[in-house]
């Protein structure tokens, strides 16, 4: 998947932001927080997983998603999300 395919989708970005904030979550919870429906969320998650950015773990019927720590790409995206949020929350001084 190309980088623009990931970042041009509001839904995908939102999902990654949520996962970087919370750590790990199941689909329904992600959908609720991202204000997306279940099917769309599921599609986004599958594409992100295909791109190697996230991975899931199954507990019986329950699937829990998180960032794929083994991927440098995923780590970079996660860092981006965190830095972005921190700056917006005023954790870093504004650069002039």
């Amino acid at each position: 998947m190309k980088v623009e395919d990931v970042f041009s989708s509001k839904g995908k970005v939102r999902i990654m932001r949520i996962l970087s904030e919370i750590g790990e979550l199941n689909i329904s919870d992600i959908a609720r927080r991202a204000r997306l429906n279940y099917t769309t969320t599921n599609e986004h998650l599958q594409m992100l997983e295909k791109a190697g950015l996230i991975k899931h773990k199954s507990f019986g019927r329950i699937r829990i998603y998180r960032f794929n720590e083994e991927s440098a790409k995923a780590k970079a995206v996660k860092d981006l999300m965190e830095v972005w949020e921190q700056e917006d929350n005023g954790a870093y001084p504004e650069r002039v």
């Binding site: 919370i22 979550l25 507990f59 019927r61 329950i62």
Partner: protein, 397 residues
């Protein structure tokens, strides 16, 4: 000069505080350590099930927590991934599902709250233990509530969980805390037999033992010179009279300290303890009342008020329901139905707050008669009012 409190650190008298030194429970502690030696010496080879029995305030909880603390320290030194989790079944409303959920969320804090059964959750737990190579000791405190609510089933599953996994490492050990051994009679034969092998019995503390315990706490909680040995002796004496109940004796001291503070006294006197004894009821804890759900509190409030009005020995279920409806109105709540109230009655009766019995003859038909044998209705009302106001504030936020 402004008044300075007699307390140095009130929190040390709190019911949830675990003292670092355990007094007069050496032999039981040794035995418990012995039972769990394998957990750090040969992890995965076997699991353990232990039952701790003792009356209120005899140190059951603290004993288990000490084991947890010591064994985690030891495991850490040896690089063993061992966890100790203490669950209070009352706080989890006696629900197996909620108990398991508390355990699972220790490992996966955002694990979904809904959408699966207790059995699935148990499987999830075992999967987590296997995948992350975790050994686990779970204490089920106030197990009565789980047995009462769900019978044998949960304990049967817990005690057999390792047997379905014949080849795997053994990861799950269980400590059960009960007030009376007779609760086990409610379990089916096979569950009982797997649980019953290791029993640690805690006897009531004597006055001298209570005195030692109190001295320890006083040194942590009160400023030096604010409490005399006489005062402590009296609290120990009263604690012994209440069935060797250390928790009661500690709460007495806390309340006595509070009285001393309100009077701006420099010292906690025996008189303050006496005053406190009139107000602390041994069988019921403050946190038991706070843990009740909102409507159970309202129901109990209705009962407490009606008893003050009638001054009688019993209330009929009908009278209690009426009183509850009035309390609901006051708090702007829609009253729950009869069946739910009947459940509340059973619940409260099992805690020993009220006594519910079936009316025998004399009256037409049958009704449940409610008695309030252990607490003064006035005190109960005061305690409930406080708890309800607090709950309502939280509710409103």
């Amino acid at each position: 000069m402004p008044y300075a409190s007699v307390f140095k650190d009130e929190a040390k008298l709190d019911i949830n505080y675990t003292p670092s030194k355990l007094q007069h429970r050496d032999s039981q502690m040794k035995l418990l350590n012995q039972y769990f030696r394998h957990a750090t010496e040969t992890p995965g080879k076997m699991t353990q099930r232990v039952i701790i029995i003792g009356k209120v305030g005899t140190g059951k909880t603290v004993l288990a927590q000490h084991l947890g603390r010591n064994i985690m320290r030891e495991a850490h030194k040896r690089n063993i991934n061992l966890h100790y989790i203490h669950v209070n079944c009352r706080q989890k409303k006696g629900s197996f599902f909620l108990i398991l959920q508390q355990i699972v969320t220790q490992f996966h804090p955002t694990f979904p709250k809904r959408g699966y059964s207790a059995e699935e959750l148990l499987q999830v737990l075992m999967q987590i233990l296997d995948e992350q190579n975790i050994y686990l000791i779970v204490t089920l405190d106030e197990l009565e509530l789980l047995i009462q609510n769900e019978g044998s089933d949960p304990l049967y599953k817990l005690s057999r969980i390792e047997e379905d996994r014949s080849k795997a490492f053994r990861r799950f050990s269980l400590i059960c805390i009960l007030r009376e051994l007779s609760w086990l009679d409610k379990l089916d034969e096979s569950t009982r037999s797997t649980l019953q092998s290791n029993i640690i019995q805690l006897d009531a503390y004597t006055q001298m033992q209570l005195q030692d315990i109190l001295n320890d706490r006083v040194a942590l909680a009160f400023k030096q010179g604010t409490i005399s040995s006489e005062t402590i002796t009296l609290a120990a004496e009263l604690g012994e009279e209440e069935g060797g109940n250390a928790r009661y004796a500690i709460e007495l001291l806390w309340r006595a300290g509070k009285y001393a503070d309100t009077e701006e006294a420099k010292e906690v006197l025996p008189e303050h303890v006496r005053k406190a004894a009139g107000n602390v009821y041994a069988g019921i804890r403050r946190d038991e009342i706070t843990a009740l759900d909102f409507h159970t509190k309202l129901f109990l409030l209705g009962i407490a008020r009606r008893f003050q009005q009638t001054g009688g020995v019993h209330l009929s279920m009908g009278e209690a329901e009426e009183a509850y409806a009035i309390a609901c109105e006051e708090f702007d709540e829609k009253p729950r139905g009869h069946t739910q109230l009947w459940k509340y009655t059973q619940e409260l009766s099992s805690f020993g707050v009220i006594k519910a019995e079936l009316s025998a003859g004399g009256q037409r038909g049958k009704t449940t008669l409610i008695g309030l044998p252990r607490i003064a209705a006035v005190d109960l009302e005061k305690e409930l009012n406080k708890a309800l106001q607090h709950a309502k504030r939280r509710y409103a936020q």
